[in-house]
Point group: C2
Chain length 368, copies 2
């Protein structure tokens, strides 16, 4: 039996309790200041108010001010804190982590500096830890298609645990993996995190598909939807993800399967990113759409701003060509309201071979 402390009792942090508790481990779930009601409810009745599921009886819930007690003696520490609070999580963990613990996080995203240098969030978090912890606590990440509520409902879920230290990954795997939680490991944490961050961007874009036919006045019950559109964006997303992985020194094969096709599939199935994509596709400006959604946190929009915003600098530095990443560039222009939605189809998939418009075809002989 291993003792595990989880910081953050949102959907995914809490869902990780299920395979751990079912494996017989001692799970201490610590809410952030935003999770106060969830923790109150779990303490009182075991019911998780946002997952809408009963937590396993052995899971012990703690408010943030009880974190030190909850973390005491933990061998493994997990963070379910959202990507927007990565700096906050690092500050908390700087006080709570102990040398020798193994750490794993679920937040996905990237941060860009002014030169367009992109950092994955596990590295951002690690860089903010005190030196002794940074050297002694391996930082790992969970990626792959995993809707928290489905994991909490004990549905089959296949994920990748990524990190730089295989021994730490093996320790995590033997603790987390079980009959419905299927775990693979990858030492390509760079490639894994890039794909995880980008899939939110492309899933947001896939929402345009439904939006544009709403804008065009197509009856919501009309038989023919816009899946061809969505599929094309998802496909281009896979291509751009792979190129990004190569650019930042990850392994191209990381961009196959779970990290791209699979994770974009579940993300495109619903959630906030797709909802804002739908509103943008229907012709709304981003600020307007964001207001309509009550300023909810949008990981996809933030990732588009961070990663898409770095593209011009990366292009100036000659690291990518002007024709590279056309979809992410367009998503950036739409999100930042620099340009209206006008999908650059012809630039996809490496660009179309030039072809003559129909009216020119009959003149072909004359032109030659």
């Amino acid at each position: 039996m291993t003792k595990i402390a989880i910081l953050g009792s949102g959907m995914m942090g809490s869902a990780l309790s299920m395979p751990l508790a079912d494996n017989g481990h001692d799970v201490h779930l610590v809410g952030t200041h935003l999770d106060r009601e969830i923790i109150d409810s779990v303490k009182a009745t075991g019911y998780h108010t946002t997952l809408e599921i009963d937590m396993p009886e052995t899971v012990q819930a703690y408010q943030l001010e009880e974190a030190e007690q909850a973390f005491d003696g933990a061998e493994i520490v997990a963070s379910g804190v959202t990507s927007f609070a990565t700096h906050w999580a690092a500050d908390q963990l700087s006080k709570l982590l102990r040398p020798g613990q193994v750490f794993v996080m679920v937040a996905k995203g990237m941060e860009a500096d002014d030169d367009g240098n992109l950092s994955i969030l596990p590295d951002v978090l690690a860089s903010r830890l005190p030196d002794d912890l940074r050297e002694s606590v391996p930082v790992n990440a969970i990626v792959g298609p995993s809707i928290a509520g489905e994991l909490a409902a004990r549905r089959h879920t296949c994920v990748m645990f990524a990190g730089r230290d295989q021994a730490a990954l093996d320790r995590l795997t033997e603790t987390f993996a079980g009959p419905y939680y299927h775990v693979w490991t990858s030492t390509d944490i760079i490639g894994s995190e890039i794909c995880a961050a980008l899939k939110n961007c492309y899933a947001l874009g896939s929402g345009f598909g439904d939006g544009v036919i709403n804008r065009d006045g197509v009856d919501p019950d009309y038989r023919w939807r816009n899946f061809n559109y969505e599929a094309a964006l998802i496909s281009q997303g896979v291509i751009e993800s792979r190129q990004f992985v190569e650019l930042l020194g990850g392994r191209p094969e990381t961009a196959e399967g779970l990290a791209t096709a699979g994770d974009t599939y579940v993300t495109a199935k619903g959630g906030r990113n797709v909802r804002v994509g739908r509103l943008l596709g229907a012709g709304m400006r981003f600020q307007e759409a964001w207001e309509q959604l009550d300023h909810i946190t949008l990981e996809g929009a933030e990732a588009i701003k961070q990663i898409g915003g770095a593209l011009p600098t990366l292009t100036e530095r000659g690291l990518i060509g002007e024709q590279d990443m056309p979809l992410l560039r367009h998503l950036y222009d739409v999100i930042t309201e620099k340009r209206e939605l006008d999908m650059p189809w012809k630039t996809f998939f490496g660009g179309q071979r030039p072809y003559l418009p129909p009216e020119a075809v009959s003149l072909k002989g004359a032109k030659a």
Copy 2:
């Protein structure tokens, strides 16, 4: 203006009329013996009874017995005939094609011989043409995420035209491509067709996700579905497709994007393959499910039988390892009723690293 004859006025054959007619071409649409009512209706009112859409006024409809007249002088010939009737289509085309025409088909699938040798349908069709036609008419294929009704509704659609002759592909592109029909070309027809055939197999499998939670009595309105399950199968499908492309001499990069992630996405969005997958996931035997669906033609089930059935021979011949293609092997076992559905999760993604079950973890020290 180019004259194009289309054999088969089912959904996809007919949908191809839209970009062609909108480009100003002269489209002659010929029904098979199964399309009699559709052609009668298009002739009478322009209404296509299965697409439920009005055809462009310039499209001329023909019954099968008028095919010779319809084909006379066509520069380009397309076939929308289903994969199950590929031999029939070849027989018809043997009479109708003329040297110098460019041919393109939409049927997807593969045929296996007794040694497990797999042939793509364009090659099966070409092999049944008279020698002079086989040498003078390039056979091409359309692949990629394209729901026929959406194309017919003039929705943005990105596809790949694949063939061995770039000049023929360019001729097709300049004829078909337009403002909403976005065309790329690939000379890797082998890889393109393999992915197109396999995506039907994996999309069928993705239907299990919904089926198994129905079997388990989960309320159809319950918030947490089984998308993690579906995403994992789609991801493993991408991995197996790529390996298959390499095995049969295609280019691995063909298995990225449109041909796998994109095409599986639209196929998993609905249709017959997913419906039978759902019934199988819910615990029905294949024959029972097929009966419930009134013995509809199931391209996915047929592809699983043909390609999955070749796997043991390919393994015996040492061309693939026993651990390769575990998902396709299991789909074959389920479809042929050799085994009940019991997803071999641990064999996915190259196989999980061995890990100790929880009860063994505490004995680790003692064991070492």
